[in-house]
């Protein structure tokens, strides 16, 4: 079995059966940021706590990346020939925070602001050692 490595440490809990995004909560201001940060942009407090974010939320806005992004910074495996548009959105996790994410669907007829979404971990690329690099995404919740 290929080893799966996260695209960055401390973005999400991994490996995990029910992975969660990792943020920082600043008690003084009530602000939660993603990913972890040393200081609160509202209160400038440096007294934050690591917090695991809810796995489900609602779609706050969305778009579809219709062309292959320039590389760098993009590190996906696609070429002009193999590129397929991918969804990008903001997902509101309760009243805590709105996070930006890739979406598992790029169908404009499926995506609706307010729809329920759930965190998933998806394959993204292979690294130099042949490991599968994984990243986080949000998928529509199937009813």
């Amino acid at each position: 079995m290929t080893t799966q490595v996260p695209v960055a440490p401390d973005l999400f809990t991994w490996p995990a059966d029910e992975p969660q995004l990792i943020g920082t909560f600043f008690r003084e201001s009530g602000v939660t940021v993603f990913p972890e940060a040393k200081a609160c942009p509202r209160s400038a407090s440096q007294d934050g706590e690591r917090v695991l974010l809810p796995r489900r939320g609602t779609l706050w806005s969305w778009t579809i990346q219709g062309f292959l992004p320039k590389s760098p910074p993009y590190a996906g495996p696609e070429t002009q020939a193999t590129f397929k548009p991918y969804g990008v959105g903001y997902i509101q996790l309760g009243n805590q925070v709105i996070v930006e994410s890739r979406l598992t669907t790029s169908d404009p007829d499926v995506l609706k602001i307010g729809m329920e979404m759930e965190l998933v971990i998806i394959p993204f690329n292979k690294d130099a050692d042949g490991n599968e690099v994984v990243t986080y995404a949000f998928a529509p919740v199937k009813n």
Binding site: A8, P35, T63, F67, P72, P73, Y86, Y90, R102
Partner: protein, 381 residues
Amino acid sequence: MAQDVAIIGIGIHPFGRHDSTGMEQGAHAAREALRDAGCEWSDVQYAFGGSSAAGNADTMVSTLGLTGLPFINVANGCATGGSSLISAYNALNAGAADIVMAIGFDKHPKGAFDPDPASFGLGQWYGDTGLMLTTQFFGLKIQRYMHQYGISPSTLAKVAVKNFENGSKNPNAWRRKPMTEEEVLNSLMLSNPLTQYMFCSPGEGGVALVLARGEVAKKFTKKPVYLRSAVLRSRPFGSFEVFNSWLSPDRGDSPSVGAAAAAFKMAGMGPQDIDIAQLQDTESGAEIMHMAETGFCKDGEQEDMIQSGETRVDGRLPINTDGGCLANGEPIGASGLRQVFESALQLRGDAGDHQVPKKIRTAFTHVYGAPGISACTVLSN
């Protein structure tokens, strides 16, 4: 007490794609501005200028003349031109000089910008995984706005149609071919709901302005245009900005709201007093949202205003009379000053084929950019 600050000379290098370097285009604009002002480079006592990707503005002294003047390089992202102008305004007000030049120029490669995550304080993963595109941000922001305020795709397209039509009459514009609403709507979908022709493209160009204290200005020109205010603001908490991996559910205003309000207050005017406006139209959704953020209408009123043609050159409030970023492209360092160049041209009545038909006395300009900055000015005869 603020003094009168006047624009006595304006110069531009046509926007688009050229063989010359960005720096040469900036120097060309500087010479044009001096010629327009009827003064010499040696008369300029202070200069501020910058580009995002075309080098240090102050090296231009080797072609304009080694007069020993203080020349400060300005680097402030999309507000580079606006920041140069504000610096010039402040230098004149502080009495540091009687005549000052502000210069902005740029030259970017084809295609979308490819920013470095680290320079925006972001982890490499953000760029790696394909989230670091300005185009995505614009799609995400207008998608939400359309959902909240009932803006239609037809209205998005009409903004582009208007700006390309304005650009077609402006000899300094890059895109000079008018387009139909159908052509705009049916072009390639780049970042839903925004199509290819709803987006501006990174480009090239240069603009320079010669500014002078009011009493000095009258010696040079019979048609001074007064800079009534020039304001820059960074983002407040809760604003929705480009390159944000998270947003607060506690939503706040865009930096454009604060910059515009401060610019109006400083000028002693309100949006109702403005005859024409240049609002950053990185894409057509941005122009729509900026209309409300700068105070020219309430959220959602743009739908009727644009459908009824109020923002066309012959409308009640002409917006982006030179074709905006859509028709001129986006050379980052030059765009903010292009808006002021166009405002001055219109206020002097020198805009030729794209001169607005109504009599005007006041103008407003607005730029917005990463990572959440806005610069606004109010101008008048």
